[in-house]
């Protein structure tokens, strides 16, 4: 379980990157929290810098889009999905459960 930041520090529409290996991006959108691998599967942009719209994040470099719920790439130039990671909130603190670390399939 990786602590991210207090929920109060991540208002709706915001995102934060955590420096795990590989890095993970956490998004707060539509009242829900999502965590995905931060690096775009197309080249090497950071998705936490992307544009958030509903459950989609658009990559800041060449505009590939990913569905935060599934990690699926919904538009070119990305073709591969990013991994998703479970997120929980405990005592006002956001935690990410690293998919690889916990052995859960993303």
């Amino acid at each position: 379980m990786i602590p991210v930041c207090p929920l109060a520090d991540l208002p709706t529409g915001e995102s934060v990157r955590i420096d795990t290996a590989p890095p993970i991006a956490v998004f707060h959108t539509d009242g829900r929290l999502y965590a995905i691998d931060d690096t775009c599967t197309h080249q090497d942009a950071s998705l936490s810098d992307g544009w958030l719209e509903g459950c989609l994040v658009e990559c800041p470099l060449h505009a590939a889009a990913f569905d935060l719920r599934t990690g699926a790439a919904t538009c070119l130039p990305a073709r591969r999905a990013v991994r998703t990671h479970p997120v929980t909130v405990q005592d006002g603190m956001i935690y990410v459960h690293h998919a690889a670390e916990e052995g859960t399939a993303a």
């Binding site: 080249q43 950071s46 810098d49 992307g50 544009w51 470099l61 070119l76």
Partner: protein
């Protein structure tokens, strides 16, 4: 429309083929390309591919096997188009073959300009995967002296990659400052300073007279500047701009002038022929950027299938460049008289967001290592441009 030929099997050609299929074209699709490779991405060639970060050719591929299969196209790779008949529907191919279809997409891109005179071993231009492989092989040796001729984006990226590999790099630029046409003086000055930050020498206001070569393999030994100085070099890379690949269309009825002239919908005066990417001069402008090539392809496909211009390309121009660990992004239409203003960050940190102002409006934006605010502003600018 029962059949379409796409000439040029790279970024714009592949995106046009995809767009035709996704817009419902079910007919015969032939893709002709003079390179022997399936479509691959060029931007990494001057960046990660040279430094070794992108080693696998699969990472460069623009389409995977599954998608190639779905596209259901006939691929004529290693085949060069040599002419287009007066009706614009028959494409002549090398080897005496020809191809007649109902529609043609011209996507033949551009070729690097060369210095006059022969290119000895060790002297390179960089456009294709083969070019990049040859250059990478020459850079795999112990540190050598590299001279990059031309300080534009490709030149700067190559210089950065060579410096990262530990080579001794000099960039020669004819203008008093590189990148001024793209970024204006103030911002060009900031970006050009990246060379010095990383120990790369930038020589400006110097033309190149010729290359020196000799020895057993007749390899390049130096670059003679127009003032007579000779810079010793084991590797030379020329990045002095490109020329659109229109020579093969010289005898066709299409109007050519620094590209294939077409309307805002990428349609040429022959409604069955559209042009996309670096070879196309769309509504008077020829873009040489990745994003415009992909965006134009969708518009061109639509108009080709419709048989006339029913959609136009109004995308906000956008490009990026990666050099010396800095990601540079630019969007908009800048005029030389526009005034740049730093909105956040600082040039000293090589991390900032700037806008170019004209009559109280923002005409363009530039960011160094500021992807998030850049993206927000880019979207705003795109919406305004569309509304205007």
């Amino acid at each position: 429309m029962k059949s379409v030929a796409v000439i040029g099997a790279s970024l714009a050609g592949l995106y046009a083929a995809r767009a035709l299929r996704s817009q419902g074209f079910e007919g015969r699709l032939v893709i002709v390309g003079d390179e022997c490779h399936r479509p691959y991405d060029r931007p990494p060639l001057s960046k990660g591919f040279l430094t070794g970060a992108t080693t696998d050719q699969g990472q460069l591929a623009l389409a995977d096997a599954e998608e190639i299969a779905e596209l259901d196209a006939e691929w004529l790779l290693g085949t060069r188009a040599t002419g287009l008949d007066t009706g614009g529907r028959t494409v002549l191919l090398d080897g005496g073959r020809s191809l007649t279809t109902d529609g043609v997409v011209l996507a033949t891109g551009a070729t690097p300009r060369r210095l006059p005179g022969p290119m000895p071993a060790g002297a390179h231009t960089l456009r294709t995967l083969d070019d990049a492989q040859a250059l990478r092989a020459d850079l795999s040796s112990p540190p050598v002296r590299v001279v990059v001729i031309g300080g534009g984006f490709i030149g700067a990226e190559v210089a950065s990659s060579c410096a990262a590999l530990g080579h001794d790099v000099t960039v020669v630029e004819a203008a008093p400052l590189p990148l001024v046409p793209q970024l204006g003086h103030a911002m060009a000055e900031i970006c050009s300073a990246l060379h010095a930050d990383h120990g790369v020498t930038l020589l400006t206001e110097t033309g190149v007279a010729r290359l020196h070569s000799g020895g057993a393999g007749n390899r390049v030994t130096g670059v003679e500047l127009s003032d007579g100085r000779v810079l010793p070099a084991e590797v030379v890379v020329t990045g002095i701009g490109v020329r659109p690949n229109t020579d093969w269309l010289a005898d066709s009825p299409l109007p050519l002038d620094d590209g294939v002239l077409c309307d805002a919908g990428c349609v040429t005066p022959l409604p069955a022929v559209v042009a996309v990417g670096d070879v196309a001069r769309v509504n008077g402008v020829r873009a040489e950027h990745w994003t415009s090539a992909t965006e134009q392809a969708a518009v061109a496909a639509r108009n080709l299938l419709a048989g006339s211009t029913v959609a136009t390309h109004h995308g906000l121009p956008y490009f990026w460049s990666d050099q010396y660990g800095v990601r540079l992004q630019f969007a908009g239409r800048r005029l030389p008289t526009d005034t740049p203003r730093i909105l956040e960050g600082s040039p000293d940190d090589r991390s900032f967001l700037a806008c170019y102002e004209r009559d109280g409006h923002t005409s363009a934006i530039l960011a160094l290592n500021r992807p998030r605010p850049f993206m927000r502003l880019r979207r705003e600018l795109a919406t305004q441009a569309f509304a205007a």
